[in-house]
């Protein structure tokens, strides 16, 4: 995470309380005419930077294989949070137009995320600095926001709404490295045991062997439910990614009626909690049955009542039998 003079200035303004005017670009807050204008402008970029562009190069003799890492799915991008913006808001204006193929330097001439998200970054940076990705030597420098949050794809939780989609999106960010030897190697630090060699990616199934039904968990919750510290209700999830030693291993933090899923994956839905059909945590139940968390108090009372009734019944029967037997014995004597 590099800091330039513009970021320093923004931070100073923020601290002084005058720089709150960050450029929010949520879909709802951008008017239709601007969106249309931006998308029209973006079509120039997508002439090459899209699957269709690569399949049909606009000029003969262009080596389109160079674009394999800078190809954008236009449909996905338009639906993403940044999909309402002009590409030039983040990518340099110097390479825009019909003068292509442009200089490869255009690939890295990108504005830092703090240009728009200064306040958020200011708040999250200490958390990121405490995270496992920042603490391993040589890894921190390779990380940008985009490493985990794909700016051409991601949709904010509040707008995505469906927990299954949120899980798929967010876990993709983690698994892109942690489930791929090739990508992991790009970030991997040196191996402590064999100097000069990169750390080998630990197998994701092996390190999660302790977790019952690991695959079911990965479909239902995000890696960050356990790999970030707990935050207070209503607060944004921490950006401090915890390693396997520090990650949450207490199943009950989710699997209980006071489930922490309410402040994590379901935090945007928790205000809609109405205990539908009498179920505890019915907003969670709308997506996943979480044993221990999604119970029906009335059913529980009925079941416990019947078990206690059976116990009391046999106990009473036994005591009466014993008394009757003793009395019969007494009479015989």
């Amino acid at each position: 995470m590099f800091i330039n003079w513009r970021q320093i200035l923004t931070r100073l303004l923020l601290i002084a309380g005058i720089g709150g005017g960050v450029a929010w670009t949520a879909h709802a807050e951008v008017d239709t005419a601007t969106i249309e204008k931006n998308r029209k402008a973006n079509e120039v970029c997508f002439t090459c930077h899209s699957a269709a562009g690569i399949a049909r190069p606009p000029k003969a003799g262009m080596d389109m294989s160079k674009l394999k890492d800078s190809r954008v799915d236009t449909h996905v991008f338009n639906g993403s949070d940044h999909g309402v913006m002009d590409c030039r808001e983040c990518h340099s204006k110097n390479y825009y137009g019909e003068n292509y193929p442009h200089d490869p330097a255009g690939k890295t001439a990108t504005s830092p995320c703090t240009e728009c998200h200064a306040a958020k970054v200011l708040r999250l940076e200490p958390q990121f600095n405490a995270s496992v990705h920042a603490k391993i030597q040589g890894v921190k420098e390779k990380f940008t926001c985009n490493t985990c949050h794909n700016a051409h794809v991601n949709v904010v939780q509040k707008r995505l709404k469906d927990p299954a989609k949120i899980v798929a999106q967010d876990n993709h960010g983690c698994l892109e490295c942690h489930n791929s030897n090739e990508t992991f190697a790009k970030f991997a630090p040196d191996n402590e045991k064999t100097p000069g060699q990169k750390k080998i990616r630990p197998d994701i199934d092996t390190i999660h062997e302790w977790l019952p039904n690991a695959k079911a968990h990965w479909k239902a919750v995000r890696c960050i439910e356990c790999h970030t510290p707990e935050v207070a209700e209503g607060k944004m999830l921490s950006h401090e990614i915890l390693n396997k030693e520090k990650a949450e291993k207490k199943c009950l933090s989710c699997h209980s009626s006071d489930s922490s899923l309410k402040t994590r994956l379901y935090r945007h839905l928790v205000k809609d909690e109405q205990q539908r059909l009498g179920f505890t945590n019915s907003v969670i139940l709308s997506n996943s049955y979480v044993i221990g968390a999604t119970r029906h108090p009335l059913l529980d009372k009925a079941i416990i009542g019947l078990v206690l009734l059976a116990l009391a019944g046999v106990l009473t029967h036994g005591v009466i039998r014993l008394i009757a037997a003793l009395r019969r014995k007494g009479k015989k004597q």
Binding site: W210, L211, P212, N213, A216, K250, C251, L252, H255, S256, S257, R276, F279, S282, L285, S286, N287, S288, Y289, I291, G292, A293, T294, R295, H296, L299, D300, I303, L306, V307, A310, L311, G313, V314, H317, G318, I320, R321, A324, A325, R328
Partner: protein, 206 residues
């Protein structure tokens, strides 16, 4: 008149005690999982989940063997209450449990190789083993392989009805077990039926 007959072959006794052990394990771990709460520490959650899964799979295998052995040996016939007068015999047996047992009256039925169980026993064992048990096992297997559950149902996760059925049938088996263990003390002596279940020999005045 004393009645001593070899009633239970070894395979039934082995099945019975293995079944009992697995059901007790499943009941304890199932309770721990369903009522999971930091204020109510029972079996540690991940451990309970592992034990419940292993014991559940073992019970499915044991139940399959039980059904096959019942068919081959003809033991399934013991669970069928034989007419005529099934309801009347049930009523006589119930009356003995409610009144006669306290007066020291003799058992209202006589155990034989042809008829191991009284009418109430036969009906309740039949319901538990051939109606409740398959449902609890099948719902447990769907829990283990949730892809077989419906995706969504009435706006909830499709696993919810499976979970509720598993919970209710599991609780029914626990209630049956409590009553079953207690009624095991109602033989000629308090321990005679437990001895039968160990050595296979029925001894007593009925």
């Amino acid at each position: 008149m004393s009645n001593r007959i070899y009633l239970l072959p070894l395979w039934i006794r082995l099945w019975h005690w293995s079944n009992a052990l697995l059901i007790i394990l499943l009941a304890i771990t199932g309770f721990s999982l369903h009522f999971a709460d930091p204020k109510l520490p029972l079996v540690e959650f991940a451990l309970a989940a592992r034990i419940h899964q292993i014991a559940g799979i073992a019970l499915v295998a044991l139940y399959s063997l039980f059904v096959i052995a019942n068919i081959i040996s003809g033991n399934w016939w013991q669970y069928v209450p034989k007419p005529p007068g099934v309801l009347q015999r049930c009523w006589i047996q119930a009356k003995w449990y409610m009144i006669g047992i306290f007066k020291g009256e003799p058992h209202p039925y006589r155990v034989s190789e042809e008829q191991n169980f009284n009418a109430l026993q036969a009906i309740s064992y039949w319901v538990i083993m051939y109606m409740v048990m398959p449902v609890v096992l099948l719902s447990g297997l769907i829990f283990l392989y949730p892809d077989f559950a419906p995706d969504r149902l009435f706006g909830f996760d499709g696993l919810l009805p499976v979970a509720i059925v598993h919970y209710i049938t599991g609780a029914a088996i626990v209630i049956f077990m409590i009553v079953h263990i207690y009624l095991g003390t109602t033989g000629s002596t308090v321990t005679s039926m437990f001895k039968t279940m160990i050595n296979g020999w029925h001894e007593g005045d009925h």
